[in-house]
């Protein structure tokens, strides 16, 4: 186990190195740069000013020098400074990451609980009305993209019913209250969760159906155990194992989804920061974002592998 972990961690070094090359190349292949992004018709800049700004930001250096400078900083644990406001990228991300994790964590948890429950219910009622309706609902769920779900929820719950706020993380200017924060969290988290709940439901249903046909389930029934014990202890536990993989794989798409949802709901996390940094061609922030999310996703994959071996004794890494 330990050697497996070490091997995986060592392997992630070249992967991360590859990530740095790709993200640097993409960030610098975008047309225009941070200096050009600041020019507006109302404030045209002289060529001297443009050259001066480029010099300040190091954008006048050859690309490979810029890359080496950046990598050098990263090896010293420093993600560089934002071209727009001069603040440290690590500091900016550190400030915003908790808000994104709150949104993603709640969405993932809700999706998992709803998806697993409905999936199991659906499997237990196979080919009955409940199963068909849930399958149909799941089909609708996976077909609606995050952003549309977000707009739909805003329209229904904020504009029409006026039950929930339309955007933001809390009521601006009020001192923080958890209740207020949760009220703001419901819609964006639901927009992210519903799509994933539908996916979890489909896997949970398939997993449960497979388990129901296993001989140990028959044995349990023959022993005269209570039906609830059979479903929960023998059925559910085994049916959830494949879900762990899906759970781990949901993380990268959640980062993507949170970029869109954070923009629609003005949720001040790293997704919103990422969109702004692309518009501003703030390459240190763009690269910092991609690098940090890549590391989180890799750690999550590793955790998924480990969780698998814990949940299923048949799987072991040696």
């Amino acid at each position: 186990m330990l050697s497996y972990l070490l091997r995986k961690l060592l392997l992630s070094i070249p992967v991360l190195f590859g990530v740095t090359v790709i993200v640097f190349a993409i960030a610098h292949a975008m047309p225009g740069d941070a200096v050009l992004a600041m020019i507006t018709a109302e404030a045209p800049s002289s060529d001297e000013l443009i050259a001066m700004r480029r010099g300040e930001l190091g954008l006048d250096q050859p690309l490979y020098i810029q890359y080496l400078n950046w990598i050098g900083q990263i090896l010293h644990g420093n993600l560089g400074r934002s071209f727009v406001n001069g603040r440290g990228v690590g500091e900016i991300i550190g400030e915003r990451l908790p808000m994104t994790l709150e949104l993603m964590g709640v969405a993932l948890l809700v999706a998992f609980v709803i998806g697993a429950t409905l999936g199991v219910v659906s499997a237990l009622r196979q080919y009955k009305f409940t199963d068909y309706s849930l399958t149909l609902a799941g089909f609708v769920g996976v077909s609606i993209p995050d952003f549309f779900m977000g707009l739909l929820l805003v329209y229904v719950f904020a504009l029409e019913l006026r039950w929930l706020p339309s955007s933001g993380i809390s009521t601006a200017g009020d001192s923080f209250s958890l209740l207020d924060n949760l009220r703001h969290l419901i819609l964006p988290a639901a927009a992210l969760a519903l799509f994933r709940a539908a996916i979890f439901m489909r896997y949970a249903r398939a997993g449960m159906l497979e388990v129901l046909n296993q001989s140990y389930m028959r044995t349990a029934k023959a022993k005269g155990l209570r039906p609830s014990t059979i479903t929960l202890r023998h059925g559910l536990r085994n049916a959830l194992i494949p879900l762990v993989t899906v759970f781990g794989l949901a993380l990268p798409t959640l980062f993507g989804g949170s970029v869109v949802i954070e923009t629609i709901f003005q949720w001040p996390g790293i997704g919103l920061m990422f969109i702004d940094s692309v518009v501003n061609r703030d390459s240190p922030v763009i690269m910092g974002y991609v690098l940090i999310t890549a590391i989180i996703v890799m750690l999550a994959n590793l955790a998924t592998d480990l969780a698998y071996s814990v949940l299923d004794p048949r799987v072991s890494y040696d």
Partner: protein, 533 residues
Amino acid sequence: MRRLLMSLVPALALMFAVVAAKAEGGGTFRSAMRTGCIEMGTLHTTCGHRLDETVLQGLVHIKWTGDGVQPMLAESWKTPDGGKTYVFNLRHGVKWHDGQPFTAKDVVFSLNLYANPKVGSPWSQKLSAVAGYKALQDGSASALAGVKALDDTTVQIELDSAKPLWVELQLIAISIFPEHILGKVAPGDIKGNAFWVNRVGTGPFIWKKYESDQYVEVDRNPDYFLGAPKLDRIIYQIYKDVPPIIAALETQEVDAMSYEGGGVPISELARLQKLDYLTVLPKFSAGLPTYLQFNLENKRFADVRVRQAMLYAIDRKAIIETVKQGAGELLNTLFPQDWARAKDLEQYDYNPDKAKQLLADAGWDAGQPVDFIYYYSDQMNVDTVTAIQSYLAAVGVNIQPRLLDPAAINQVYADGSFQMGFFANGVGLDPSLGSPLVVCGAKPLAMGYCNPKVDELFNKGLESNDRAVRAASYQEASRILNQDLPKAWLWNEVRPLAFNNRIVGLAQHFKEQPLVIFNHPVYNEVEKWEVAK
């Protein structure tokens, strides 16, 4: 489990209930502001000018009625020599929000800070007429020779030559900073300084708190020199996109929208007009001449007949009526101001046959497509570009539209590959603001157009502050621009705006404002606004 559920029910009920029950009570005005308005930092505040209306201030601000300036930190001023030297008498007894006295030294410091090349402010060119500006730029002087404190409350500013409209057009963009704070910062470090997220000013509201991508809160300044504000606080709520602003306006989470970013989308207008708590101004002029931009250095567009043909080919009236649902006023020259336009302009009425004829005469090659760029990404503008594309295709001009963001557009301008595009620029404050679009060598927007007569008229237009005298120059320029068509003038943009009636004074002042005044602090008597009882 059951107990847990029972306890959840009231919590959930409460969660849904607070939204309706919540009343402001104390007088909070919530105003939407777009992302980036405060973080741009380099004394170049663009849309962040809202904070220069309430926290920092200038010597003078433009009045909301658009017809003059309001004395702010300067109580009065005079120019003994017709606009070459200005002497400003500052208000006595004004204090910075941290209690330090405001003096003439702060003014001298601020003007020098804007002009300092090490700060690199794009706004420094507002001071380019000040004596000694060039010497400061090339390093042969360390301060603006033309700016002097005569005593604690008197400042003299000397220009290179007489500019009778200098205060009205240039000085209104300059905010005054506290020397006792920013004077300690090296000019090169001004941009990233913490001051920009914790400003100390002299205005009616005191900076309280900034949460990145969420809001700026400013609280009432009871010692304000024009009288203590009635509102307790203003919260500038930050939004990246326009749709959430419109939603928040509808749910009364904000009282005022931003006018950057296109105003109320045409598709939402009817819905908002039905809400009795909003005042909707459906035809607010944006002072934005909208036009087809040509690269005149490219031979294909050098022939004026080609540019005329494009204008004849497009049924602008139909586009305004259908796609834009009335949100535009036909315009055949650069100036949105009625007084600056000649009455006898060529109208370029829709005439596709004439367009075809002109293109044939000019030897237009219909087989070669035209790269066409634009950046307004809202549905109405995307539809407008599609309509223009089909009108032009009908006469044999095959444009290929590309939606680009500002950085990419500036790249296209910089590398000279630009061919054609759909753009607009704010000229509402004064016709002279149109000069960067058409005077010889103006980069990047003149695009190779150069007519010395136009340059001369633009210079002449600034020689007097009498509107009747100025009108003659601009009207003649409007005629030349109408004939030369350096750009194919389409219409003046109209931007629907909406405001909540809860704030007394807000909609009232916008009703009296003739058009959007972009990027400048506007004096609108904010200290007298209040929450309706």
